[in-house]
Symmetry: C2
Subunit: 288 residues, 2 copies
């Protein structure tokens, strides 16, 4: 393994894969990028927009051209890709929103996790596809890496350096903590937003109700415009943590309903105030 | 009653009352504005920022100086103000997010609703207070009026004209429809957002979890930064419609949980796609 990364492979050239390519081209221009996607149009677009150097015909061809491979595919497609990479000796990382299933698949394929560092950029957009690629999508954003005890330290270091050189902030986290915390902060809000928008659509077939929805609804529901198959996969692959979070959430919601039902002005105000304080704290630590 | 409104009174000089005053000053400068607020600081700020002409010491003083009074107080404070306005002969309107309780209170105080036109600007902000007043808060935004059959037509016309002259779009709606639809499109999303932020805060006492929350969470939770006592009042005063909406929502959420639990990829994708289509439709009809 060379000291300096010279060849990166990207499997899946969507918003995240494309933005990663754009960030590398903008900040680490000497690195050669090979990419594969099941969608030929995405690869042609990537070449045309000068995001990638080589459009590969297979995962194997990416492996032959790369020191490090980033899986940027929906969570449930990663395992098939790992199987195709069984003989790859370089570094493997990914950008998925759920980490335990990837680790389990990688352990199954490779026997150990010496060369595997799961990663999760806390960045995204309701846009998708390589055409929305943004070289600054990760700038000043957090990247969570969840290496295990059998991941080689220099492998972790190499992946961390890559992200840092692209302007991101790298955090290390235990994989179970990651999946539990992200279930609460990301997967649950997405599920709640999808459920609300669907409720409105189903209860009001002509969608006229959306005429009366205001900015609050827009903010709340923006995440329900996210890529459908990606979120379907996230929900199902993180089902254990997500369903636990939903159950806790429903209990909390029922508590609020009871306070409303019983005209408990003071207690209701206490809960709302506590939430507002937490939200204000969130704003204070997250300016971007 | 004069043909042209010359004197407007505002009870409650917060974000909405202050923005209304600012909009009148900016577009209907000949109108004299009197205001009352239980908070003297708000009135001084209103005078200092040239939003109002007269800071009154009482609701009665506002009544003596006005042809039309706008109640811009939390929903549950409106009844006390209406009682103080029992002898007022001019037009009364309001800006509250729940309409049935106001109509009931007004009918109790005045015997009929000849002079009363409830109103609800579909505009707001997570900011609050007169210091956040914005002369363009209502520009191109919808204002829903819910007059009843015993409201005098010229009274409805006068209030509609006022809002139109301030750049807003006026819609008429049945009061029950208003409270049901707004429960779904506004009150429920706010309740869901408060519950989520509170869940995160309570489950993670050190609030470190908020470090890992990203843009989706920010969008989702922005509305949980709204004014607490205002939302407490809205939730409780629209409890019938809101609790019905929450119950339907919980059932829908349980349906999604079941699809996730059972790995129903196709059905889950169908629901998410339907929601995304509805959200995309909402975006297409609401550019501002």
């Amino acid at each position: 393994m060379k000291l300096e990364l010279q060849r990166i492979g990207i499997i899946g050239l969507g918003l995240i894969g494309g933005s990663l390519a754009a960030a590398v081209k903008s900040r680490r221009n000497s690195i050669k990028i090979s990419a594969y996607d099941t969608d030929q149009t995405a690869l042609r677009r990537g070449l045309g927009d000068n995001l990638i150097d080589v459009a590969c015909d297979s995962v194997q061809e990416v492996a032959d051209n790369s020191d490090l491979i980033v899986l940027a595919v929906p969570v449930n497609s990663a395992k098939a890709n790992l199987i195709q990479l069984a003989d790859f000796k370089g570094i493997i990382t990914d950008v998925g929103s759920v980490k335990a299933p990837l680790l389990a698949s990688a352990r199954e394929v490779f026997g150990d996790l010496a060369q595997v560092v799961p990663g999760h950029p806390i960045a995204g957009s309701e846009k998708h596809g390589v055409e929305a690629a943004d070289a600054n999508l990760f700038t000043d954003h957090k990247i969570i890496l969840t290496p295990t005890s059998d991941t080689r330290p220099e492998v972790v270091e190499r992946v961390a350096q890559l992200w840092t050189s692209l302007g991101a902030m790298v955090l290390m986290m235990d994989v179970q903590d990651h999946d539990r915390i992200l279930a609460q902060t990301s997967h649950l809000p997405h599920l709640l937003a999808y459920a609300l928008v669907d409720l409105l659509a189903v209860e009001n077939e002509d969608l006229a109700v959306f005429q009366y929805a205001a900015g609050g609804f827009r903010d709340f529901s923006r995440i329900a415009a996210s890529d459908v198959s990606m979120w379907r996969d996230i929900f199902i692959s993180n089902k254990k943590e997500l369903l636990a979070a939903v159950r806790t959430y429903r209990a909390r919601l029922e508590g609020l309903e009871k306070l409303i039902e019983d005209d408990q002005f003071d207690q209701l105000e206490q809960v709302l105030s506590r939430a507002k304080a937490a939200r204000d704290y969130f704003t204070s630590i997250n300016d971007n």
